[in-house]
Amino acid sequence: MTGDFLSLASVVGLVSGNLILRLIAVAIVAFIVVSIGSLIEIYIERKFWARIMSRYGPTEVGRYGSLQLFADAIKFISKEVFTPELADRTIYDIVPVLAVATSFVVLVAIPFDYAVSSLFPSSFHPSSFVISNFDPSLLVAFGFFAMEPVLVLFGGWAGGSKYTLIGGFRSAAQLISYEIPLVLSFLSVVALTRSLNLFQIIEVQSASWPFLILELPAFVLFLIAMLAELERTPFDLTEADSELVAGWNTEYGGSKFLLVYLSEYIRAFAGSAIITCLFLGGWVGPAPIPGLVWIFAKTIVVFTVLVWIRAAYPRVRIDQMLNLGWKVLVPSSVVWLVLTPYVANFAVVHHLLTL
């Protein structure tokens, strides 16, 4: 018994001693978290959405249709792989892989590794296990978030079809229109805490009011911009089934489509987790329940709200969407960003915020 305990401790010691091993361990932890998260997300997307629309959703495979996702995955992987004749082979093959890899990198900045390692007794988790606690972690998340329009354009062009090219342009136009308000509204949270470290932002929130209240306008702006960045209804013009088939990924089939789909859900998970960390206090919650459960549950709740919005609102037209982005969201996020320092002073004076 003691022997097992010691060997586990020595494994932990070895892993946290070697930088590369530690990074690989953190990456695998993040991968497990995001896999479970994506499975729950897709299940919620199907079941909850169906219930809102008075449908049943999947029921046949497994209890309450819970194994439907695995059946789908097996089907995607067992399909034949081919490249359409007019496609640019290299770019066509590499875009889905890069989409998964870049969306996965976003998770390096989100403190899931801290939440997981705090499950273990403190002798096991030297804080040196955590890598997400570094200075511009928010920028890392958004730097890789911002790679999506380029990938979409390349993917749409490489498919070699008119649908994919036009879909790629629409997709890219949408993503770039909402990136400015996205950046400016998260900057107002940064201006409140004067830190680009997501870890530190959560720690400030644990001693203050949640930024959902202090930064309500920024939250609303960020949520709308994030909805558009994740290409979810009411902004899912890129996937407007009746108009554009499937947008830029029309020519992707089989396992490549699986990768595109997976990257969308990883992005959705990462986006919900960023909203959780910026505005809802991350892992902070009443004591007996561990921080990992809090951050994970909050992320899933945010995602459920996104699905709810998807069920409740009709799709906007593309001109309405671009007008909203450029003429409403950009000016209002600029105004709120400039006002934020005054809010910060007010909050500090009234003890709503402790820096």
Partner: protein, 116 residues
């Protein structure tokens, strides 16, 4: 400090890419592909494709890209301001934001931000 996180990014990217490549290339080994003319042609709702697929369309969309790049630069310059607004004079940032809103207002008035 930056180096460790740089390596972390590389490890995360590598793990994502390995998973992606595995999902893309393992089926290729296991499943024989039968190519037919219909399968290889671009999808156009079941019709035979007409003309080139690299179509040119309205140059007006270029405006969105230009606006995006210029405003993204402004947003990037606002990042140090957001971190250190208590240490500095705000005028340059306000001038930048003002000119950005001016350009948007001009576009809006001229109707250049319409997607047709």
């Amino acid at each position: 400090m930056g180096l460790e996180q740089g390596l972390g990014i590389i490890v995360f990217f590598a793990l994502g890419a390995i998973v992606g490549y595995a999902a893309e290339f393992i089926p290729r080994l296991l499943i024989k592909s039968k190519k037919t003319a219909e399968k290889m042609m671009p999808f156009e709702s079941g019709e035979d494709p007409v003309g080139t697929s690299r179509v040119r369309f309205r140059i007006q969309y270029y405006i969105f890209a230009v606006a995006f790049v210029t405003f993204d630069v402004v947003a990037a310059i606002a990042i140090p301001w957001a971190v250190g607004w208590n240490l500095i004079v705000w005028t340059p940032l306000l001038v930048l934001f003002g000119s950005m809103l001016l350009v948007i207002g001009y576009y809006a008035a001229k109707g250049e931000l319409e997607w047709l």
